[in-house]
Symmetry: C2
Subunit: 477 residues, 2 copies
């Protein structure tokens, strides 16, 4: 039987009415009471434009309060939110709107879009609506679908990942069991709410009764200022954000109130983790994806400085195994747990490929050491097979990042007549250095077959909205 | 579908192998790794004496490591632990052993007992067994029964409260969402593990990955010393313990590491809570019972000093309502939530009486103020809470009525400086008998803590029109 609990936001509004639920950079505080009132009002206004139980409603928005109200509002209606990436082209969005059966769109996007959706409303238009006297649902059923979110899949068509309320609940609980849950916690989100890292933190806020510090987007100066002045305890980050924040930090130190940088979005260069360690910043490496409702494997507090480079162990309710490991122990990462999506929306083929006996076959590569720590080697699509040898881009990037002259590095593959594929590197420089010097240094670091065939100097690297490196876009530079 | 997660102890043994799971007053530390190894060994030895999936095994023990190993061991076997109160008489125990279908008993009890159970083993005897090569279960299914624990009812016959793994999980999680979960938490238990407050904390230890400081019994000097010296952060207490600890504390103060006295077992005198407040001790009042797997309503951190006298608000996954409130708002407390027992073991009548549409009718009286804070007015008018132990007048009355010389018996409570309340008995005689003879007989029938402090001979008992005993009028005699 599916678990059913009282609505989490209404509950927090009852338990902690005056406690801040959301803080913005402009100093705005929204209490749990006000968050509930506004979300209920949004629910009744959404009902007025025809949203009801089961409606698939598109949400195309950068981080803002109105987006937060909309997300909670749909949970009072039993509607399903399809969260859309604002950086996508019309063509990409139309694919998702169509695939997810969206007829109504809510947006703060001001671009002159040409989207194939029956009705579209801005938040401002929605707010002018009369509230409908619809009956709302004040319970949350774990098996019900809450959101659909498309994976940034590098090949083929994007897949709509279904998240149930139970997925979000278990994700929040398993994170709390790992990171702890301090009564003064305040979590900073600068990642978009239309990605799982942002959305899952928004859910933690109402499940824990914890304020989140919500930023429109990542800006290292604003994040730096917030950590220094706003008693932030946890920050969700990806590698490039840590790099920029460390640079911004310079010789300063963060206050003791900061207890965790939760690092997602792929393996980080060891040299960067070491630099953070030197500065006393507790970076918790994690492994997860949209399908696992954010982290499913995280390095625990006690291990975060001793096991640099590992993503940790599967969280309490999760399991992990390595499928078909090679002689080096590296194989496909396979995971299971109640935070794992029940599947891709209306995508039988993808579901059959990815799910077997309740296990999710991630396509990512990794190994597990004797103590059970996961080391993510690379995302499978990034794997470069060269003359029968496996080459992992991250290994080359790590080597490049050891050079102080190099600010950022990205590696991808290039077709080669002799080897099938060879790696090529794209680097952003801090200070001047020649390609010869780079090759000379790499030769001291890497086996010959791993050396990039070419190095390109570029102004910046292609990244998605969560600042994750898009290796497959490197070639377009 | 019932949720299934990896075995919590095995998981903690993997995540935090060297972290202390249990600390004893003699300085012994048992790591999660050793706790798992010993519990698995116990499981295989229990299998050797015939315990298997579904076996009901009695556990009659004061707090000790062997009891802890046994409790975890049964979870690897899928057996059901029937936790028995060591203070009970043979007659009381035999009722429970029989009612719960127990054939095998494990005990550290050295009294010359005459128990009706097929096989009985001391921990020492168990430890000499050869381990059986049985296949153990490394998953926990939330709907499976884990333990049975007896609570007395108004009719006098104790009822076996079934606790599933899910009850324990949700109890632990809802407590963490309220109290927070600090990475340095260490929870002191001096209450018996055969009571729900002790057992639920033992489960928190393996669900959180948190050490517990386990004491054989409550001793104010030892608890005082532990709080002062052992970095205890949370202590489970009942009123009488707070009184004694405050006396022992005198002019000293507890270290800042202490963050919570979790107070259960009935409403506490306001004057005591005020004294604790003056000493800066955060006493979290709570409301719960065996049927709710400990607390289901707790005052949150932010309110604990401002709402003295309230038991707080229902924890996140729980709901509460007041049935048939009078003009003063006081009515029966009715609760619902995933930590509530699925029911009493093989007791259709009690289940029909207590459970309706998933709600538990507690029989306790209380009211809820405008902000939603619960004020427990009284436990079932006939319940006597004496030093944290529940005593049901009807149980004592039933014992008295076994004496042919006694025609009628009524039991109520009397205030007591040391225990909070103690039972007193009023009897109408058929034929002559001395009070000494009555006390001597009761000693063979009832646990010592249940023996009435005084016996009064009266002409008749106060009854209402339908001849129901009015216990609250007894004192007027």
């Amino acid at each position: 039987m599916s678990e059913s609990i009282p609505h989490w936001l209404t509950k927090q509004a009852n338990i902690l009415p005056n406690y801040p639920a959301i803080e913005l950079t402009d100093g705005t505080h929204v209490s749990f009471h006000d968050l509930e009132i506004n979300s209920l009002s949004y629910a009744r206004k959404l009902a007025a434009i025809g949203v009801e139980k089961g409606t698939h409603i598109g949400i195309l928005s950068t981080n803002c309060l109105e987006m937060v109200y909309t997300i909670h509002a749909i949970s009072y209606l039993g509607a399903v939110g399809v969260l859309l990436n604002t950086k996508l082209t019309d063509e990409e969005l139309n694919f998702q709107l169509d695939d997810a059966d969206v007829n109504i769109l809510i947006t703060n996007d001001r671009r002159n879009r040409n989207l194939r959706v029956k009705e579209s409303y801005t938040f401002q238009q929605l707010e002018t609506m009369e509230e409908s006297s619809v009956s709302l649902q004040f319970h949350i059923n774990f098996d019900d679908t809450f959101t659909i979110m498309y994976t940034s899949g590098t090949t083929g068509f994007p897949k709509g990942v279904v998240h149930t309320y139970g997925n979000h609940w278990w994700s929040a609980i398993s994170s709390a069991l790992n990171l702890g849950l301090n009564k003064d916690d305040k979590w900073l989100i600068s990642l978009p709410l239309f990605h799982v890292s942002g959305l899952s933190t928004l859910m933690k806020s109402v499940i824990y009764g914890m304020p989140i510090f919500l930023m429109k987007k990542f800006d290292e100066s604003m994040v730096h200022h917030a950590i220094m002045e706003k008693q932030i305890t946890i920050v969700s980050v990806v590698t490039v954000m840590v790099q920029r924040l460390l640079e911004r930090l310079g010789t300063e130190n963060y206050p003791n109130s900061l207890r965790c940088f939760l690092l997602g979005g792929g393996p980080a260069p060891k040299v960067l983790l070491e630099r953070a360690k030197e500065k006393g910043i507790p970076v918790f490496q994690s492994y997860g994806m949209t399908e696992t409702t954010s982290q499913i494997v995280t390095l625990s507090a006690g291990d975060c400085l001793d096991k640099l480079g590992s993503a940790g162990k599967p969280l309490l309710p999760a399991q992990l195994k390595i499928n078909n490991p090679g002689s080096d122990g590296v194989g496909e990462i396979v995971v299971k747990g109640p935070m794992v999506t029940p599947g891709y929306y209306k995508n039988q083929e993808a579901n059959e490929k990815s799910f077997k006996d309740g296990w999710l076959y991630t396509g990512d590569l990794g190994s597990v050491d004797e103590q059970g720590f996961l080391y993510v080697v690379d995302r499978r699509t990034d794997l470069i097979i060269s003359g029968g040898e496996n080459i992992y881009p991250s290994e080359i990037e790590n080597a490049l990042m050891k050079m102080t002259e190099i600010k950022e590095a990205g590696v991808t593959r290039m077709e080669d007549d002799k080897w099938g594929y060879v790696p090529v590197a794209y680097v952003v420089l801090h200070s001047e250095i020649t390609k010869e010097e780079i090759f000379a240094f790499l030769a001291t670091q890497l086996a010959k077959y791993k050396l990039p065939k070419k190095v390109f100097f570029v102004e910046e690297l292609p990244r998605n909205a969560s600042n994750k490196l898009l290796r497959n876009k490197l070639k377009e530079l």
